[in-house]
Amino acid sequence: MPQSLQITAAAPDPALLDLPWHIPLEEWPDDVLAALPRGISRHVVRFVRLSGRVIAVKEIGETVAYREYELLRALNRLGVPSVEPVGVITGRRAPDGERLEAVLVTKHLQFSLPYRALFSQTLQPDTITRLIDALAVLMVRLHLTGFYWGDVSLSNTLFRRDAETFAAYLVDAETGDLHERLSDGQRAYDLEVARVNIIGELMDLEAGELLESDTDTVAIGGALVERYTELWDTLTGAEQFETGERWRVAARIEQLNRLGFDVGELDITTDVDGTTVRIQPKVVDAGHHSRRLMRLTGLDVQENQARRLLNDLDAYRAATDRQGEDEEFVAHDWLTTVFEPAVRAVPRDMRGKLEPAQMFHELLDHRWYISSEQNRDVPMGEAVASYVENVLRSRPDEKAVLGIETGTLPRITGP
């Protein structure tokens, strides 16, 4: 019986039709595969090349596939960092007529790193801490939008470099649910599942000798709970003060901005005799700095990269003595005379190593480093050349780090 495929997708790529849907995913030929995933998954997953991109294809029950597709679309609409769904394909049949499982297709997140790949690189001592921080931020953001994950783990998360930190993305929404708002019980349970899963995953790395054996895995799991709770309380907690201390309203907003959040709605109540004020943020949105950079320059980058770029923009403004001018004009000039020339100066064949904003961040670090070494202000052009030669050349390509065996990922070697 011939197969009659049904493709549900927002913007279907006709090239999808050329993939061998009549073959079980497990048996797909090597020439369409970009890589095999690592670890033991509940489902068969393959990374596939399609129209110059990489997509992830997961075989999964039809109803579950549609559900996860819709959930990922909703998360994308809400602006939560998550993989982008491409579509669901059903009606697959093998040539002998046997029905094949439906598939969910998602875009591979460029420049993202699975946590196992991060552990295979020369580990900076605080990498784990920074991964945990990123995951805590992601969980808080998900919970603020009413998303209950149900299966938080490092392997259901992808990480992107974000200046000196990481930004975390949700990959697997199969067990998730979107609610109007989450109960404390849901948040607590999600956090407990996360804690146990992370410790399990770290214990596994330990068993595979990919982690120093004296690492306190249980403490790292505990750190996630701590970081999450701290951030949640700062973002949503109520505070109370005397009417005379109204400056504390502005201070609270500033504090949240520093953490990278905008306050969309703030509840302010006064008691009956008007002596005390109680404030509580009701709607907070992540991305304070990245939104500001986007507005000024059109650059769409991670939160901490944006922070770094905005700092350089401020420095540029001071150096060119244009503080009195409209910020938009200065930003435009900074973009065309500083940022773009620097990124363009990187040879084409090395641009797949890092995202432009991440490259610029490292470039700023490098310029600072050689300037202090040579005791002079090294100009940007010179700094770019030095950075390309001494740092970037030896970096691995991170545009599409997939589920390759950790042992085969190129390691950073000295110049």
Binding site: D151, S153, T175, G185, A188, V193, G200, M203, G208
Partner: protein, 375 residues
Amino acid sequence: MATVTYDHASRVYPGTERPAVDALNLHIEDGEFLVLVGPSGCGKSTSLRMLAGLEDVNSGRILIGDRDVTDVQPKDRDIAMVFQNYALYPHMSVADNMGFALKIAGTPKADIRKRVEEAAKILDLTEYLDRKPKALSGGQRQRVAMGRAIVRQPQVFLMDEPLSNLDAKLRVQTRTQIASLQRRLGVTTVYVTHDQTEALTMGDRIAVLKDGLLQQVGTPREMYDRPANVFVAGFIGSPAMNIGSFQVADGAAQLGQTRIPLERSVVGAIRPEDKGHITIGFRPESLDVVSQAQEGAIPVKVVLVEELGSDAFVYGELVGAGAAAREIHSGAGDAQVIVRVDPRQVPMKGDTIWVAIRPGERHVFSAANGQRIDV
């Protein structure tokens, strides 16, 4: 081990009027396997999540044993959600995969080993304990995941549609495994499904919910033999029961030219709001093919015959029943009846057969409120 009690437990989602779960009263015995079943949106998952501590209880209480857990954190309730996650860790042995949560909790090594060995014995995994999960089959990996929950020795297991993302073959296998494993362990289990076959085959008792209200709770046999209302009658059983609403005249229901005599007690139970009607239900397997001459024989015109080898089902229309024929519905849709027939004597499409409801296998319900009328 413990009992579970829902005591007038309600959940109202913010911004909605109708409770998702409305004053649920349900007592689950120690060691019992209880299945919550119903169509989507009936409140079954919400009920389970209330017990897990994932949903707030807006009024009423929930008890595990004698302990009121209504306001207790999920992780302190001594329950285990099974199957939510069965990603296995490739570098760890099967034993470590099963016992790692105990290690996190600080359980002494000797205790962990003992509990893991006990669980492995029940799960037939003893010989694999020192291997890596890569060496296991799909079914064995799933049992390792079950082992994770077992070694924690919780008071209650909770399972929310655990089979929904398995393919049909593995679903039937795993269904049997879970049910027999639960009997061996004797741990109180609450299981949610939308699939009535799963409910009938697995549960000691079944609780049917609809629109947040408990419709009936009982053993699979009770639910099948004595459904409390029209909804349960139509929901439990496959193919579904034939159900129709008919005019009552001279102590009998009128199905077109056929008269179905009713017991005096049934006629006496008809109230003014029923407007002289009664709802009658009969399962496809409660019909016998009889001769036209038999009293109460119902003529059915064969539209389709479904042969399953061990069984055969006729999908047909009532003949000469006029408006009453359109009032009947079944698993096949409106104005259709389903009849189980002898697979070795199958009628042809277009034939008319006469069928009679087997004595004692007829269900009657109030036409107004759908409640069962006892004979």
